[in-house]
Symmetry: C2
Subunit: 401 residues, 2 copies
Amino acid sequence: MITPTTDPRPADFADVRATNLAVVLRFVREQAPCSRADIAASTGLNKATVSSLVTDLIDRRLVRETGLTENRVGRPATMLVLDGSPYAAIGIEVNVDYVTAVAVDLAGERLLSWRRSFSGAAGTAAQAMATVAGIVRRVATRMAKEERQILGLTVGVPGLIDADGTVRIAPNLGWRDADLCGDLTRALRDPGFPVQVDNDANLAALAEYRFGPHAGTANLVYLTGEIGVGAGIILDGRLRRGGQGYGGEIGHIQLDPFGAECRCGRLGCLEAVAGIGAVLEHAAISPAEVEVELDEVVRLARAGDARTLALLSSVGHNLGKGVALMANLLNPEVVILGGYYVPLAPWLLPSVETETRGRTIAPDAGGCRVVASTLGYGAAALGGAARVLDSVDSGRLPRVS
Amino acid sequence: MITPTTDPRPADFADVRATNLAVVLRFVREQAPCSRADIAASTGLNKATVSSLVTDLIDRRLVRETGLTENRVGRPATMLVLDGSPYAAIGIEVNVDYVTAVAVDLAGERLLSWRRSFSGAAGTAAQAMATVAGIVRRVATRMAKEERQILGLTVGVPGLIDADGTVRIAPNLGWRDADLCGDLTRALRDPGFPVQVDNDANLAALAEYRFGPHAGTANLVYLTGEIGVGAGIILDGRLRRGGQGYGGEIGHIQLDPFGAECRCGRLGCLEAVAGIGAVLEHAAISPAEVEVELDEVVRLARAGDARTLALLSSVGHNLGKGVALMANLLNPEVVILGGYYVPLAPWLLPSVETETRGRTIAPDAGGCRVVASTLGYGAAALGGAARVLDSVDSGRLPRVS
DNA sequence: TTAGTTAGTCTTACAGCCAAACAAATTGGC
DNA sequence: GCCAATTTGTTTGGCTGTAAGACTAACTAA
């Protein structure tokens, strides 16, 4: 059954076909290796229909037959797996001091993972765009060598991104009203694949939704733990961006009217009292410095340094206020702490949880769990690739090559 | 085109038919009166298909032919309108001191609107359920007299409602773990129509989404202004309830760690500093008392009483903090203030808007407008009926009678 | 009266799902 | 070794529902 929708567009047979192709593709992704009979039994589709759909997917080189089953009563089944080899999805994260590029195949296998230092804040958006375009071209060359068709590219940027991919404001990069999506498409000169731009927290949430240990959790929030703090909000299985695409801006919500001054000039913003800056001794400039200082904080915490433990507890309590806010408003099943929060999680999580439970009106915090991300620093880039795979999964299959 | 979905269920022809029937039905609802040719031209469906779909809708008595167009070149068109007469959707709101019942026809025309005083907090959930069942029976009798088939019933309750319609906690009613939905269905003895239970703020949001001046705004938040404050959150055109259905609980989010004590025991909850209780001189018990006191506040404000104006401004600023929170996190296009906020809106809105703009990171508050509801006190009950109509609109058409 | 225009139906074609029959390939009992 | 049982996957025929285009109907305007 098609999900009830308020979409004004009517449906026809092509939609039925596209829907069912996507259903089979997703099933193979999740259950591989599996047989046509398995698919028919689990999805409720007719065996004949499944055969037809699978043939189609094989023609498109999205799925591939592998060996047969053995040692079983009855005719052995030909097993199906995702065909990883002919396609690639690219995700890129532009940050203040580095650019991360990730390519994955259909099955989500990492094909490459580049990280390159970069002075985003120093240059203009145009310069950054040129750098990104260069990286994309190198990735594209590499994929061409492997004879892979690129399904799409998504660029993650920390800032407010319009629905049409314009970077409205990226404070840490110093960009304003940059048509990154359009410029990049032009710079790549008819790339032959769709180019999209999205907020970094949104993409990281998508990465968790597809690749993380809580993959498939329909209501999930990702909190970036950089100098800035942003949220990627997934409700009912989809990213929710709000009217103009500016949702998830939790960083400058006031937690304490008498709290520390924030970079934005206001007092007691979540970023100021629970951002990574609140943990560091000095105002660090480069991520290299942040990481060095962070290592030192972790060392002190491990050693049981009272002042450090008190600091982390305090930051955890503040962070918990922010998490409670979301638990009350959105009632997610899980809140995932990312970025620099990850190494600090052992000391942050207890106070975060205490605070969350204490401030949530639903019993047991509405079933909301708080965990540290396991995807590492490349989460947003990975999420960019995930967004490309999402569009394939929801029916936009690539043309036969 | 079917909306891209991650729904695991495959599609078949029945889904195509249901989708297209719903498309035509919604078109007639929005554009009535209109001709088959209009529908074909606007939806992209084939003329023959539209004829077939319309015939089906007429057979189901959802649509009806009305007169012909005149004074135009070409063959006159037979115009179509929604057939209001054979169906009814019922919404009921249970509150601390009153029960509201509303019935509407397919087109949303009000068929009846009852308000009855009620001592919800005094009795048990079972007693309340019996009262509600009695009201439903009376409504059903009335509808039967008009020869209307009841499409469904939704009951709104202020509290935490599970996904399956169990009232987990309704603090103001003193209910816990009441299977209202199941009990009501049993009390009505095979009513022949679906019974649902939902949170009152959620239903009020649905009412605004369908019947309010901002109907159709895909990202919309409704704030109830009763003794308690709750939010109904619509994102991307659908109510978002979160994992367990406990979303929208904004009332006990702490705005000021040193603020007034809340009924829940915490300090500076939104409810305590921006709820209607913060406006009133005395702790009022019954809504009748609240309304009397509120009239007095409005009178004083109109007369320019300095203390009253300062009080309302202060409450407005606090409320603005809460609205800013949602503007940052969810980026809705509009936030609608309901309940007792409505009469106070002229004095609240200026400070709410100032605060919202000042605290939102996106420029111009991300395009978020704050307005007072125009649907009156029955919003939640009306929303209950709206929820029933929603399920019809998304393809669950009633059987032919 | 005739040409032009628009509405709605009828006929035919086609796409795609389903059910059931059937062919294929294996295990296991006798 | 052979046959029954079992399971897989394909083939065939039927059904549903949309699309395209011819056709009929009903009107205006010249």
